[in-house]
Symmetry: C2
Subunit: 437 residues, 2 copies
């Protein structure tokens, strides 16, 4: 049986899963591939701490060079994460004509152009299914299964930690801080949760998805980003009353020559499939011009689900190698040469529906003042909820709007928040209830 | 730009969609593929009726031989459906070293062995993504994205017509016959709906999915099959009361050396993702040993969604051709040679939960007689609903059970239906509420 040698750089959680999976399912992998994949070397800075899988000492090294310089190794799996080392290992591997598999979304979102261009120049493959949506085959679906489609829109829940927190807040009525602490205790959230809860991780994934969907380069900083740390139990309750759940959505949508690219807490109707994605699951609702709605769901993280995606990339590359080819499917659809920048619509020019929660002083005429300012800014009201109960001396007034321009909303809220009868900053959450699969 | 010539046999609904899609998205297809796919010839028995797309007369022929014998055509798209002609066109194309794309599940489920073996022998590819789940990338997901997994189970809604009827019955409280007639008037159901409503179409699709998941041959007649024509509004209402929806599920589940393969109306909990698949959508819940739950959803039929899958297969084959290779991924994982038969667990030996609706005479002691027979057959009761209201002189008594053996259930119901106090045949619907994603 033909053997294909791979080297693993990064023996953490996912790396351990890859070793376990290649071992536990070796027999079916060999039957399906018609060849054997052998992990020849595993490099990590720490090779003494026991892992959830036992590995011969001779396989382990602290020197990634032993993998990068081994001519027998033809596929390098990069699972150390981070920027500097990962980048140099990947580029080095490619220059040595090795194929690469990585789960490193942060690196691809920031240094993707350099990495994808190098892969093209060196005529090697780069597999990155595990970088977005964990086990969910969203990369392959965009590059292969939906290849015949113009992608109209993608709505995604791409960060498990945020979704876990919002799910707990919704189902158990707990406050953001309490749930975050709980998630940290359980190991679902990092000690510094900024990456997850402020939408940075989601932005990395959306940048990759955008680049594949539109075959263009994306500048991370052009993606609008708002996290979930400002979401309070009050807003989750009002959302329920209005028939919505609050989810941290990543939204990409084709708008003639522009593309919308934004990440923010979003109210979506109960019966939307995305509203039923709970806990740390991820999901993608992709609307193709021919395919119509395609919805993909699964574990966005975790040792074995992510390893499943990493090994599928390994097999994909191995299948190419066994046929003596590479780059059967280009990394980002198009040729890298001459690839244009994607034109992201400025957030100010976005049209969407809104939920506002004003903290109003309980005095006659307040509603008329607020609605007057909204009307003057071309924002028309769809629904109003005003309840007697005071919170810190103020009464919450909730409004939802019809489609309005973000720039008008910003201007109106600025004026409203300066009214004597309004206390504190108005809460604004965007609503998406049109594309319901 | 390199040109790849394809020929289309069958210019019906899906064929029209393929012509439209290749035309409307030609520019992005060329950018993504780096080559042009040209439909050189379209064969159909009827070339005079206008289609939803206009085609030059010179392209049309009533003679499929003009495609099969054209040495310039390297991919044949078979979309005529049915058995005899489709089979001979496909085999003939392969023997002439042409690759094949087909959406013909009936043919693959019955003549798959011959077709897949011929593809292997002739070293040509066969794409059949459109044969199961329409636009949903379930074939590629099983063969490529989940390649590293043992497939633990697949639960699928694979027939749009049945799901449309059940959805309407559930949401609008209408009777089966009324909804069927409505569906026929709207063109969602055939004049003879047997294939769809009796689970035959679903069985064809399940046979294909089983063969891919387990890399073995499947005998269609081994798949247990029960349609939806016996489902009444009463059972849908009781299901709601118990927290379930009724769906026509195709179930595959690994059971040591056996595989469960069954199609029947099934009660599933409201909050299961499959319970929220409505209208004529299809969906697959796949449980892999590493991936955990993966859920795929989309249009299982329709002109453009199905065309999207057909064209994705075309591009897949074209990508191979441009690299000078074929059969990069074998048609059914393994080599055809020496492929074993799948061992399907006899229905009698299935363990599952049940819903029963007895039509009992309103007389003391009835419940004790029924539950006595159930107990004697090792069937333990989970819940009972008995209501005063009489239907045709009898009172409905509804019970759900814990896991029980099908053979015991059959024996018990035979005995119960012979009781004086029980009128008419007891209704039995299986419940699946364990694997909730």
């Amino acid at each position: 049986m033909k053997i294909i040698y791979a080297g693993l750089i990064g023996f953490g959680n996912i790396g351990t899963g890859v070793v376990k999976l290649l071992r536990s399912n070796r027999e079916i992998l060999e039957k399906r591939l018609g060849a054997r994949i052998v992990l020849k070397k595993i490099a990590d800075m720490d090779i003494s701490t026991p892992r959830a899988v036992s590995v011969e000492k001779a396989l382990l090294t602290t020197d990634a060079g032993e993998i990068l310089n081994d001519p027998e190794i033809s596929i390098v799996i990069e699972l150390i994460g981070g920027y500097d080392h990962a980048r140099s290992f990947i580029l080095d591997a490619m220059r040595k004509k090795k194929h690469v598999v990585t789960a490193n979304k942060a690196l691809l979102a920031t240094h993707g152009n350099e990495i994808f261009q190098t892969a093209e120049k060196e005529d090697v493959d780069i597999g990155f299914e595990a970088s977005v949506g964990g086990t969910i085959p969203v990369i392959k679906t965009l590059k292969e299964s939906l290849v015949a489609n113009r992608i109209r829109s993608i709505f995604g829940i791409m960060n498990g930690t945020s979704n876990y927190i919002l799910t707990k807040m919704t189902d158990e009525g707990k406050a953001f801080d309490a749930v975050l602490r709980e998630a940290q205790d359980l190991g679902f959230a990092e000690a510094d949760p900024t990456f997850d809860i402020e939408g940075i991780d989601t932005a990395h994934k959306l940048a990759i998805v955008l680049s594949l969907s539109y075959g263009k380069k994306v500048r991370l900083e052009d993606i609008y980003r708002e996290g979930i740390s400002g979401i309070s139990q009050k807003d989750i309750e009002f959302a329920k009353e209005l028939g919505y759940k609050v989810k941290l959505l990543a939204i990409a949508r084709e708008r003639e020559t522009f593309v919308e690219a934004r990440i923010h807490p979003t109210m979506i109707p109960f019966n939307h499939l995305l509203a039923n994605v709970n806990g740390n699951f991820n999901a993608f609702h992709i609307l193709g011009d021919a395919s119509d709605s395609v919805f993909l769901y699964g574990q966005g993280s975790g040792m074995m689900p992510t390893a499943s995606a990493v090994v599928s990339d390994l097999i994909d590359i191995a299948r190419d190698m066994l046929k003596g080819i590479s780059r059967r499917v280009p990394a980002r659809f198009h040729r890298e040469e001459g690839m244009e920048d994607i034109r992201i619509l400025p957030m100010e020019d976005i049209d969407t529906k809104y939920y506002f929660r004003f903290s109003a002083v309980d005095r006659p005429g307040v509603l008329s003042k607020i609605s007057g300012i909204l009307g003057a800014n071309d924002i028309s009201i769809a629904a109003v909820i005003q309840k007697g109960r005071k919170i810190n001396g103020a009464v919450p007034v909730v409004m939802t709007t019809h489609e309005s321009m973000e720039k008008n909303v910003r201007k109106a809220l600025k004026d409203i928040d300066q009214l004597d009868v309004v206390q504190g900053k108005t809460v604004k959450i965007r609503i998406e209830d049109e594309e319901t699969p």
